[in-house]
């Protein structure tokens, strides 16, 4: 993973286990980096946070944003190739509560003058199924045909620091809506 700090919402329960098994099969390198998750800060909408940011400062910055948003239940749409690339993702509707959570955190981060990279794309939340591999056509077809009907419950966000190509370290966890 590229050095930087990302804020994610880890998936939980049976859905997380199922997605993790799929990631291990189709992209073991990605599966080893982070548990299945939705990236809220650090990819689209707002780039990765500087790796030098103090976790405590980041926590204090994010608390008001996270506490203002209630836990939410989301639904995955059908798998797709992200921006016509070889990356296969499970998208969710980028609007509504999840976008409010993203914008609220991004606003606080900007106000706190915490350094972030510029994003290339507008906020497009998703769970990545395959990132590093260029899948052969039959595998790609199989992945794109999968369906995920289970609801995605987001009740907390986690911060991960990536310091090198392989290592990631969880540096914070905050519950939504102060729950």
């Amino acid at each position: 993973m590229k050095p930087g700090i990302v804020i994610v919402a880890e998936l939980t329960g049976a859905l997380a286990s199922r997605i993790h098994a799929i990631q291990e099969r189709f992209d073991p390198r990605m599966a080893a980096e982070l548990p299945p998750h939705l990236t809220l800060i650090g990819s689209s909408g707002m780039g990765p946070i500087s790796v030098h940011t103090e976790p405590e400062r980041l926590r204090e910055t994010l608390i008001p944003a996270v506490e203002s948003i209630a836990p939410m239940t989301l639904h995955f749409e059908t798998p797709m190739r992200f921006m016509q690339s070889d990356v296969v993702v499970l998208p969710i509707d980028p609007n509504g509560a999840v976008r409010e959570l993203h914008e609220s955190m991004a606003e606080r981060i900007r106000a706190a003058k915490i350094v972030t990279e510029r994003p290339r794309f507008t906020f497009t939340p998703h769970c990545t199924l395959s990132f590093y591999r260029q899948l052969p056509p039959n595998e790609l077809k199989e992945l794109l045909a999968m369906r995920f009907e289970e609801p995605v419950v987001v009740g907390a966000v986690q911060g991960y620091r990536a310091t090198g190509p392989r290592g990631t370290q969880r540096i914070l966890e905050l519950k939504l809506g102060g729950s």
């Binding site: 509707d93 980028p94 509504g96």
Partner: protein, 285 residues
């Protein structure tokens, strides 16, 4: 009325004229506001009201998966948005600094008045954003039980509930159109024959900024229209104020009449000429 206007201008960073008439030469005095401004303002208000019923249609068309998963659209929208903000401040500040250092009065003038236009317009728009408290399009997605809701306004909510409720007007559109109007007005004084090229280019670019904000689901179409109105007004008024209503005002004397030059031992020397700066040839505006 004139006193009140001066007070308003002072409050947003402009200065009261002192030696204006000494420098106007043969140019007649032009009031800051004319009946044409009322017509223009009325046009923009009508445009904003007319767009309200189709705000949700625009949002629906721009938020299709096909449009949102287009890498080209995504990257162009990021670029034009960045050029508007913070680009307008960086470009304006750089033009001013380079113009002062290289003693190119027109360039410094363009940078200064362009930046001033963006600041004046942004301050005004910021107050409106807080006051109107309109929910951004992403707050009520089509998948909600209500679907899109472009009628979610609440007085003062922009202050209390944060940026998700500061949709009206579009701040990026304000900055882009203010810069465009200032550039078109300034350059039409030096290159009147090129206005037909510069005008469409600048306003077209500003329009792209507005579309990019709708594409990112941050603004409704009517937010962009009102942002354009405020920006165009600010750009026109700032340039008119400095070149026709009160040329040679203290603000320009201080920031365009002083000299900043590289010092022999490194750094810069700053000298302020108390005499009014020489005027460049002035056109209609």
């Amino acid at each position: 009325m004139r006193r009140q206007l001066r007070a308003v201008l002072l409050s947003v960073g402009l200065s009261v004229p002192t030696v204006a008439h000494a420098q106007t030469g043969t140019l007649p005095h032009v009031p800051l506001f004319t009946w044409e401004d009322a017509v223009l303002a009325g046009g923009f208000v009508v445009g904003t009201v007319a767009l309200r019923p189709v705000d949700e249609d625009f949002a629906t068309h721009l938020q299709t998966k096909y449009a949102q998963q287009n890498r080209y659209f995504q990257e162009v929208s990021t670029v034009v948005r960045t050029i508007a903000e913070p680009g307008a401040f960086i470009i304006g500040g750089s033009l001013y600094a380079v113009g002062r250092l290289s003693k190119q009065r027109n360039m410094a003038d363009l940078g200064l008045h362009g930046t001033e236009s963006v600041i004046v317009a942004s301050v005004f728009a910021g107050v409106l954003k807080d006051a109107f408290g309109r929910a951004r399009p992403f707050v009520h997605p089509p998948t909600d039980s209500t679907g899109y809701n472009s009628s979610d306004w609440q007085f003062g909510r922009g202050l209390t509930k944060g940026d998700s409720y500061r949709s009206f007007p579009s701040g990026h559109s304000v900055a882009a159109f203010a810069a465009a109007a200032a550039v078109v007005n300034e350059t039409s004084r030096w290159w009147p024959s090129m206005t037909w090229v510069i005008g469409p280019m600048m306003y077209g670019g500003a329009g792209l900024v507005g579309v990019s904000r709708m594409y990112n689901n941050k603004h409704w179409a009517s937010d962009v229209m009102m942002g354009a109105a405020i920006g165009v007004f600010a750009g026109n008024k700032v340039v008119r104020y400095h070149h026709r209503t009160n040329p040679g005002n203290k603000f320009d004397q201080w920031l365009l009449g002083a000299s900043l030059q590289p010092a022999p031992g490194g750094g810069f020397t700053h000298s302020l000429f108390l005499a009014p700066a020489p005027r460049v040839a002035q056109g209609r505006r």
